[in-house]
């Protein structure tokens, strides 16, 4: 199954994310967010008249700011342990028969993890998602596109799309 990296300039980020979500036809979708809370994602979907029912979420941000409660369609990660993230992502993909994965974003992950850790994580996760036939989209900010980990991920994915 296809996977791709989308590189987005900061000023067009939100607009591009909305278009990406609107254009994702495979369902259900797993949206892994490192920069938007689950309620913010629900608000974004509602504002853009997108059916949230076809989405499952992995949210690392909310527990860093708020008290969270158990949700039916969202898994909150209490820490950014990459083994835990990979396990959560793969288990959710298998349990809910996920067809598309959006990872938002590698730039956010690079705040917390080293270049090498990020590359190892995506090599591992992409291999699993390919086996599970999941259409995977990785997102990163244009300002990070020259970073060594992004260069390596560019070589690993099937497509690289640079948004203007």
């Amino acid at each position: 199954m296809k996977n791709r990296l989308i590189i987005i300039p900061a000023e067009a980020y939100n607009q591009s994310i909305v278009r990406l979500i609107q254009n994702t036809t495979e369902t259900p979708v797993c949206y892994t967010s490192l920069n938007k809370t689950y309620p913010a994602m629900l608000q974004l979907l509602k504002e853009n008249k997108i059916n949230a029912e076809k989405y499952y979420f992995i949210d690392f941000v909310s527990p860093t700011i708020f008290k969270t409660k158990k949700e039916k369609r969202c898994i909150y990660l209490k820490s950014l342990d990459l083994n835990e993230l990979a396990e959560t992502l793969i288990n959710l993909t298998m349990d809910k028969k996920i067809k598309a994965q959006i990872f938002d974003s590698i730039s956010s992950l690079l705040v917390y993890k080293t270049e090498a850790e990020v590359v190892t994580f995506f090599n591992y996760v992409l291999t699993f998602l390919e086996k599970l036939n999941v259409y995977t989209t990785l997102v990163c900010l244009a300002e990070d596109s020259d970073r060594p980990s992004i260069k390596q991920i560019m070589m690993r994915v099937n497509d690289v799309i640079v948004k203007k």
């Binding site: 900061a10 920069n35 913010a40 629900l42 860093t64 700011i65 708020f66 917390y112």
Partner: protein, 120 residues
């Protein structure tokens, strides 16, 4: 002249915010993570803090919790961040903590200056 503490792990952001603060006629103090901020804040005694949400180390929740243990009164904090939160979450934050405003990056310099001015 007020003292404004800038807390962000990106040096370029810290430099930009320090320039904005300087241009407004205020004094900037800086920290590059939550731990450094908590270590400096007692001595620095800032009038306002510009705090990033996504930084390595302590989470925002941990920083605010440790800050509340210090006897600093109602220290005003503006969150300056790429993190998007829902309107209801924003309202809850502004109501229940030292956070007085929430600015999302990328921000307009004039808008940020207005928000800082409003808090001083």
């Amino acid at each position: 002249m007020a003292k404004i503490m800038i807390v962000d792990d990106h040096k370029d952001i810290v430099d930009t915010l320090a320039q904005i603060v300087g241009k407004m006629g205020h004094q900037a103090d800086t920290a590059y993570n939550g731990e450094e901020f908590l270590n400096k804040v007692d001595a620095s005694k800032p009038d306002l803090v510009l705090l990033d949400v996504m930084m390595p180390g302590l989470t925002t929740k941990q920083i605010l919790s440790k800050l509340s243990e210090k006897n600093l009164g109602k220290l005003k904090i503006i969150l300056v961040t790429v993190v998007r939160i829902a309107d209801e979450e924003r309202d809850a934050l502004l109501k229940d903590s030292n956070i007085v405003d929430y600015v999302t990056k990328p921000f307009k310099v004039t808008d940020l200056m207005e928000r800082i001015k409003k808090q001083l």
